[in-house]
């Protein structure tokens, strides 16, 4: 449909506004992360101070340097990366596996009480996390699971599995039924059908679910803070929070504003990278398999 020049102009204004709105906060943060350590205090955000470089990133990625320059506090950030990687990885793997089985059951089969059970599963989402914070904290500390990987992983799983199940359920239901019938007739029991035939066909959906699970666990603050804050297993979000300027006691006094900005930017990299991988994987499947891509929405 042809647009009038006036409409075209409005469109470009729109594109500019959307881009600006989305990118400016990110750009500011990245800009700060490139500054040398105390340049910010001089309040020269809009100048191009000499010494803009990736020094902060290099420092972060070579932990030994940090230790020498900044002491143990920065190590907490690095540790946060590691702990979050472990927790988010575990949540993604276990959560996706559970959701595949659950989603398959809900998406493919009809059974008594199906709607009631589905409702029960999804109602988890409705409550604010704060509501379960106290009992979880009390129960987990009684079980000595505070400050451990297991406690946090289990907590995240309860939130993530229902959501993933719901997403995958929809996806499984859209896969062609006859191919699974063919697998059954070819000699597969139900679990073998799932493994050999259904899951390969559902790979894009599963990849997406994996990324969502990882992202949720990686980004989460409240439970990470309450259950692992201040311990050796502290995850990334609480670690970053500790160095934020708004934190009264610690704050960036020990980390340096620009290093803090660099840490924050770096913290976004793993999930984005994962999402990119998943995207390329899905795209590769699509290109290679137009038949399958009809199945994908």
């Amino acid at each position: 449909m042809k647009k009038t020049p006036g409409e075209r102009a409005i469109l470009w204004v729109g594109v500019a506004l959307v881009t600006a709105w989305t990118l400016v906060p990110i750009a500011v943060m990245v800009w700060v992360s490139l500054m040398p350590l105390d340049a910010l205090i001089d309040y020269g955000l809009l100048q191009w101070p000499s010494g803009m470089s990736l020094a902060n990133y290099r420092a972060l990625l070579g932990i030994a340097n940090i230790n020498a320059v900044f002491g143990g506090e920065a190590v907490a950030v690095a540790l946060g990366f590691f702990n979050s990687a472990v927790v988010a990885g575990a949540v993604a793997v276990i959560g996706t596996a559970a959701a595949v089985i659950g989603g398959y059951a809900f998406g493919r089969f009809d059974f008594p009480l199906k709607n009631a059970l589905l409702f029960a599963l999804l109602s988890v989402r409705v409550l604010p996390p704060i509501a379960v914070l106290i009992p979880y904290f009390v129960i987990l500390s009684t079980l000595h699971l505070v400050g451990t990987y297991v406690g946090l992983i289990v907590t995240y799983l309860t939130a993530v599995v229902p959501l993933l199940t719901w997403v995958l359920m929809d996806y499984f239901a859209s896969l062609p039924l006859e191919i699974e019938r063919a697998a059954r007739i070819d000699g597969c029991g139900r679990l073998r059908t799932l493994w050999h035939v259904t899951m390969p066909m559902a790979a894009p959906g599963i990849a997406a679910a994996f990324v969502i699970a990882f992202l949720t666990a990686w980004n989460e603050l409240l439970f990470g803070l309450v259950l692992t804050g201040g311990t050796a297993k502290q995850t990334l979000s609480p670690a970053l929070l500790a160095f934020s300027p708004t934190m009264p006691s610690t704050g960036t006094a020990n980390l340096g504003m620009t290093l803090f900005a660099a840490s924050s930017v770096l913290s976004t990299v793993p999930p984005l990278f994962l999402a990119l991988l998943a995207q390329r994987y899905i795209r590769r499947l699509n290109v290679a398999d137009p038949v399958l891509s009809q199945v994908l929405r």
């Binding site: 019938r181 697998a183 059954r184 007739i185 070819d186 398999d289």
Partner: protein, 371 residues
Amino acid sequence: MAAVVLQHVSRRYRETIAVDSLDLEIVDKEFVVLLGPSGCGKTTILNMIAGTDTPTSGRILFDSRSMEQVPPEKRNVAMVFQTIALYPHKTVYENIAFPLRMARLSRPEIDGRVRAAARVLRIGELLDRRPHELSGGQRQRVALGRAVVRDPVVFLFDEPLSALDAELRAEMRVEIKKLHERLGGTFIYVTHDQVEALTMADRIAVMDTGKLRQFGTPDEVYHRPANISVARSIGSPGMNLIDGRPVENAGTVRFAGLRVAIPFDDAMTTAARGSRGMLTLGVRPEALSIKPIGLPLIGEGRVYAIEPLGSDQFVHVTYGGTDGTELIKVRTSPDARFQVGDAISLHASPAEIYLFDGIGDRIFPSGLRLR
């Protein structure tokens, strides 16, 4: 190979009845076609035989052994689907090899069988391709390969040719028939195409809205349709069906403007009484003639419309019916020329006349009804 028996098999989904109390006895090594209009029933029957669907009531027996507790992967049947249903993420080789892998055969044995099947079906060069790279006909052959590479007890076909063009369909019909001769298995084949049914089947099960209407050889089904439903399904174009009130008249029956030399017996009277005097007369267009050639005259009319088809020609004729006009289709020689309004005389042998009662069952000629 096995004999498959369905006893009072029904399948209902909430309010709909897809299959209604079906009784079918299929003999070992037989090629049976389930014929009927597109709908759920026939595919459902195949699924129940395969085990991927369970009857709401009734039993299915393989060689007198009930299949009730036997899951599909243990029934040793092979199925070719309407949607072909190849595994999209596997190559042709892997698709065909899959059932053998699941049966845990050795690698060399799998390889041997896959290549043999590929050779028979002439898809040897396609073994490394994926389904989406193949044409419809090629995909169908791969599906066939996947089915024949095992040694199944029963072969099931669900409208396998409906997605192919006419030429390919004709070719595949022959191939499947040849396959049956080679493998000598029990073939159960579902279609809505009567040409497939008539050319391939040992016996045809004519179905309609989930009910079995007749189970017989192509000959029986064509010449002795058990009811109107069957009469309509077999033969192209379909049988002429005329409703009317039979009236006896000196040894012949007057029927809606036609005079047929068939005996009017008690069976007819009883049947007619049951349906307030109305019966249905059936006669195939190819059984009618406009020339006497030794056939008795049954009526006169005028040309209403002409359908020239090249190798065939059909003429629609109006004649005096119960309300003044009735329409009947006559097959004529392709060289005959007509004008609308021409006077036409209709002739037919009494052996080609059928009478059906109010609920559609055949009452004349009697005998050789439902088998």
